[in-house]
């Protein structure tokens, strides 16, 4: 009795400590490089001090918000996550974060960082650091710091040399986050009095014209991505860069640099005002150990953790106490960014702010690449904004749908009444049904869970409208919106019909090219006189074997306007380099080339196999009958290939119809969403346009219906072909 009691006590102690030790706090973030390392160091400090383990998870920035919104309400998210302040309002409204008043000392932090995290008077997170962009200069190349934009332009002109591919300034000109300082420097505003986003303003046009002029005068590079900017600065081919604190970790050791606030705009006398971002550690409202989570968040935002982040990652700490440390006080980078932050404008944490990005991307692209005059770009953004954020469809009553579903079920039951009412008939017709079911059960279960349930869920989702966690039933409202092309004309890129046409053109062009190239190569490889057949076969399979996102990124790089291999080749041939992603035809061609490179090996292999199954005797008989090579091809090869080619073509067409990777990675839907196909458009509705899940689900259902129609049509074709062959 004693033994059992002590065993129980021992076991429960084990369980208790196990429970204590077994659940590390989960911390999600979107850092890379030096920032990630600094975070890891800080969490290690926490672990050492409190004995509580912390599990870090790095996520890509694009999908971070969507993941949080999806995971936390279901209780499977992190305990603490690090996010920029601008979504705090939305998170608060969705119940993803809770106020931390009572567990925080507001005075410990700088006031504007506190303000950034306050929603309706309550504070929702622990400020970690300030972020804003500033001017990096290569100290070796730049001796004086420009105070005004006129000075700046003069300096840039001296430092740029288009022949040597050297630029005075490099920055991600296509991203609104980097363009905002220009807009605000020219006295522009993003929101009107009611708080709604406005784009079509004269100041917007002037700011766009300014940047366009910099680009036209070859003072800044075109199509600058983050990677390009980094490379140019590290190679010494860009004397100045506009970027944020994270950039310091990406600069090569050999490049001496210093950081300064952005210059003043000569025309208005106002300083260029970047957005001020506050990064905060936010505590999940569904954390199982709220107290420990808050402790972690607070730890990260103050004290040693704050110093670590400042010193290693160049973060500008938001807590005042950090500046008592000499390391922080004397850190030039931190000081420089703090100075730059004085002019910074806190990014509004309203929902409207999140809606600004996509329309502005369109405007910047149009003005800088697409030949849209700066005065028209604002209007372009406005239209896109209006189209994306349509008023939500009216709430619909579920009654007619339930009635309809009931009728359908009744009809189904009526039709199956024989089997339902007389089970003996069923078992007589299918005597082995029970045994067969056992064999099929595992696969059926897998398919049910992985295919059927998500499908039904998605189809059901299409009847709802989603807005910040609220689902409203709208019946067929989404479908009506899509099919009636409400909010935009039919021939605009956002229209379902436009995208459908592009998708069909995309599919047809690809399949034709794949089959023609694959078949030609298969015919060449079949020639008995060809040497090194094995070698060719392996080499020609390689495009298919390489993961297609790698291929897509390589090709995208090759189509770059200034630094791409394709334009380099054109220039070597004394042809005009093409700006691939500014026109529909060339962007489409770029996608097409990439996908053809990826797709022809499949057709080649299929054709090779099919060719080998044609008996050689038929060709001999045809030769004796009098056929030339072309006649043999047309009358024997092609008809006998049909039964094999047809399924391959059907498969290939369905795959190509939904080929998300290439479209998303190569052209990115440019220009202005014109090369988006249905599936990538649907993705954007779901994940890039404020989580309009219901709308995106409706899109998916429509895609499914289109492909279903196509399959039934092709089934008839296959049956016809089967009848025609042996």
């Amino acid at each position: 009795m004693n033994a059992i009691a002590s065993l129980v006590v021992f076991a429960s102690c084990l369980l208790a400590t196990g429970a204590q030790a077994a659940s590390p706090l989960k911390l999600w973030h979107a850092y890379r490089g030096a920032e990630e390392q600094a975070l890891e160091k800080s969490t290690k400090l926490f672990e050492r001090e409190t004995g509580r383990a912390v599990e870090l998870l790095a996520l890509p920035y694009d999908a971070f918000a969507a993941k949080l919104i999806a995971a936390i309400p279901h209780g499977v998210g992190p305990d603490v996550f690090i996010f920029a302040h601008e979504r705090v309002r939305q998170f608060a409204r969705m119940g993803i974060v809770d106020p931390v008043d009572g567990a925080i000392d507001r005075r410990a932090y700088f006031p504007n960082t506190v303000d950034a995290l306050v929603v309706d008077g309550k504070m929702y997170g622990y400020p970690l650091s300030l972020k804003c962009i500033a001017l990096y200069v290569n100290s070796r190349l730049v001796s004086r710091i420009p105070e005004t934009t006129d000075e700046w332009r003069a300096m840039l002109a001296r430092m740029s040399s288009p022949k040597e591919n050297r630029f005075g300034l490099a920055y991600e000109s296509g991203d609104f986050y980097f363009h905002a300082p220009f807009l605000f420097g020219f006295k522009g505003a993003l929101f009107d009095e009611s708080g709604r986003a406005i784009f079509d303003t004269p100041e917007m046009a002037v700011s766009l014209a300014f940047v366009k002029r910099l680009q036209d005068e070859r003072l800044i590079p075109e199509e600058a991505s983050g990677a390009l900017v980094k490379t140019l600065f590290n190679d010494g081919r860009a004397a100045m860069v506009i970027s944020g604190p994270w950039f310091s970790g990406e600069i090569a050791k050999s490049v001496p640099f210093a950081v300064f606030p952005l210059p003043r705009v000569s025309e208005t006398g106002l300083p260029m005002r970047p957005f001020l971002g506050v990064e905060a550690a936010l505590v999940s409202a569904r954390s199982t150990d709220r107290e420990a989570a808050r402790k972690l968040a607070k730890f990260l935002s103050t004290g040693e953790a704050s110093v670590v982040r400042a010193v290693s990652a160049g973060h500008v700490p938001a807590d005042r106490a950090a500046y008592d440390h000499r390391a922080v006080r004397e850190d030039k980078l931190v000081a420089a960014f703090r100075r730059a932050a004085e002019n910074a404008l806190p990014m509004p944490n309203t929902l409207e702010m999140a809606r600004v990005w996509e329309p502005m991307k369109l405007a910047l692209q149009g003005a800088l690449k697409g030949g849209v005059p700066p005065s028209g770009a604002g209007a372009l953004a406005d239209r896109r904004y209006r189209a994306l954020y349509r008023p939500k469809p009216e709430r619909a009553s579920g009654v007619p749908y339930v009635v309809l579903a009931g009728l359908a079920a009744a009809l189904g039951l009526y039709r199956a009444r024989r089997e339902v009412l007389s089970p003996e008939l069923f078992s007589k017709r299918y005597p082995d049904a029970a045994r067969a079911a056992r064999y099929v059960a595992p696969a059926a279960a897998g398919i049910f869970v992985l295919v059927f349930i998500p499908f039904v869920y998605g189809a059901g989702l299409s009847f709802f409208h989603h807005d910040s966690g609220l689902y409203t039933f709208v019946g067929l409202g989404n479908f009506v919106d899509i099919l009636a092309s409400r909010g935009y004309r039919i021939n605009e890129p956002l229209s379902f019909y436009f995208t459908l046409a592009v998708t069909m053109l995309w599919t047809a062009a690809n399949v034709v090219l794949h089959v023609v190239i694959g078949l030609s190569l298969a015919l060449i490889l079949r020639d008995p006189l060809l040497k090194l057949k094995g070698f060719y076969r392996v080499v020609l399979i390689v495009p298919w074997a390489v993961p297609n996102y790698i291929t897509a990124l390589i090709w995208k790089g090759m189509f770059h306007r200034q630094f791409g291999a394709v334009n380099g080749l054109l220039q070597a041939l004394h042809l005009e380099p093409i700006s691939w992603f500014t026109q529909f035809s060339t962007a489409f061609a770029a996608n097409l080339v990439t996908n053809t490179w990826l797709g022809f090996p499949f057709m080649m292999v299929v054709c090779l196999g099919a060719l080998q199954s044609i008996p050689a005797e038929l060709y001999e008989a045809a030769e004796v009958d009098g056929a030339t090579s072309w006649q043999k091809f047309r009358n024997i090869t092609l008809p006998l290939l049909r039964p094999t080619l047809l399924p391959a073509v059907i498969l290939g067409s369905v795959w190509t119809f939904n080929m998300f990777n290439i479209i998303y990675l190569v052209s990115g839907g440019e220009p202005g969403g014109a090369t988006d196909i249905l599936v990538s458009e649907s993705y954007r509705w779901a994940f890039q346009r404020n989580e309009q899940y219901g709308f995106a689900a409706a899109y998916s259902v429509l895609i499914f219906l289109v492909l279903l129609t196509w399959s039934s049509f092709t089934k008839r074709l296959t049956r016809g072909a089967q009848d025609a062959s042996s």
Binding site: P615, E617, L618, E620, A621, E623, V624, D625, P639
Partner: protein, 357 residues
């Protein structure tokens, strides 16, 4: 002018000489059968004539025209393949018309020729079917029809009946003979079946290991084979070959002796081979040879007994009245003059005189 003329033709595959110097001529309107065991090169020779292979040496002429360098399409030949090689995706009518369509014949001509061939081969009700819906014999006829519509100078047949069952084979043999009489065309026919050779051919050419052994009318080859190989190839069961020694006026073998035939003449050697066909060796109680019956084949009208004798295995015939069982000790006696004599290297020395030709 011969229809087909082969002179000094040689062909080697992978270092292996498949055809070793063949000279052969086919006369216009003749049914020439090339026969021999597997691997003797007869099919290769046919394909050389067709143009599906090129000879390494020698010349091939069709209708007096040198064709060695011409592709099959220009040689004015038509070929019937062993596995028919019908186009599976075309109907019978389209199969028949294919060659003509390729050569851009006028539609009316095509239709006429197709229906004529179909009628000749009794294919008319089948014209719209696909090959997979036809029986073996029907497919064979379509393959022949495809050749017929072309009206070529020479027909080439590559073992066309080997995929058919026996009854059908007999029937098709008759039809082929009838076809030949009707069309009067030159036909070169390859087979390994000596019955087909004997029954269909105007002339038979026997091949062995790439060399032609003998060519001539079937009965000539049967009664007067030029060498041991031809003697054993034609006729079933094959001729009994027994080694003997010439001793004065007698040819002495193991356990038997026969008088030397008058017309034997001087041979270079005393060691010779005697050949007697089983059809001319009758089972009796006592005879020239004796032995024990090892196996029996009763064929209804008569039968063959396979004896084990001191001279080796011997096949002999018995009529249906005779009661012969396995294990019996019997004798065998040739009927009349039935002795062929060969040199040891196989060359024929003497053949029995025939009572009537």
């Amino acid at each position: 002018m011969s229809a087909v003329s082969l002179k000094g033709v040689r062909k080697t595959f992978d270092g292996h000489a498949v055809i070793k110097n063949v000279d052969l001529e086919a006369q216009p309107g003749e049914f020439l059968v090339m026969v021999g065991p597997s691997g003797c090169g007869k099919t290769t020779l046919l394909r050389l004539i067709a143009g599906l292979e090129t000879a390494d040496a020698g010349s091939i002429a069709i209708g007096g025209r040198e064709v060695s360098a011409l592709p099959p399409r220009d040689r004015d030949v038509a070929m019937v393949f062993q596995s028919y090689a019908l186009y599976p995706h075309m109907s019978v009518r389209e199969n028949l018309a294919f060659g003509l369509r390729l050569r851009k014949f006028p539609k009316a001509d095509i239709a006429e020729r197709v229906s004529a061939a179909a009628e000749l081969l009794e294919l008319s009700p089948l014209l719209d079917r696909r090959p997979k819906a036809l029986s073996g014999g029907q497919r064979q006829r379509v393959a022949m029809g495809r050749a017929i519509v072309r009206q070529p100078r020479v027909f080439l047949f590559d073992e066309p009946l080997s995929n058919l069952d026996t009854a059908l084979r007999v029937q098709m043999r008759g039809e082929l003979a009838r076809l030949h009489r009707r069309l009067g065309a030159t036909m070169i026919y390859v087979t390994h079946d000596q019955v087909e050779a004997m029954t269909l051919a105007n002339r038979v050419a026997v091949f062995n290991q790439g060399e032609m052994q003998q060519v001539g009318p079937p009965l000539e080859l049967y009664h007067r084979p030029a060498n041991r190989f031809v003697a054993c190839f034609l006729g079933s069961p094959s001729m009994n070959i027994l080694p003997v020694r010439r001793e004065g006026a007698v040819l002495r073998g193991q356990g038997f002796s026969v008088p030397v035939p008058e017309d034997l003449g001087d041979a270079s050697s005393d060691r010779l081979l005697v050949g007697v066909r089983p059809q001319e060796l009758l089972i009796c109680r006592d005879g020239m040879m004796s032995g024990e019956v090892e196996a029996i084949e009763r064929l209804g009208f008569d039968g063959y007994a396979f004896l084990s004798t001191p001279a080796g295995k011997v096949a002999a015939r018995f009529s249906r009245d005779a009661s012969v069982c396995v294990g019996d000790k019997v004798g065998a006696e040739p009927v009349g003059d039935a002795m062929h004599v060969f040199l040891e290297d196989g060359r024929a020395l003497r053949h029995p005189r025939l009572s009537s030709h």
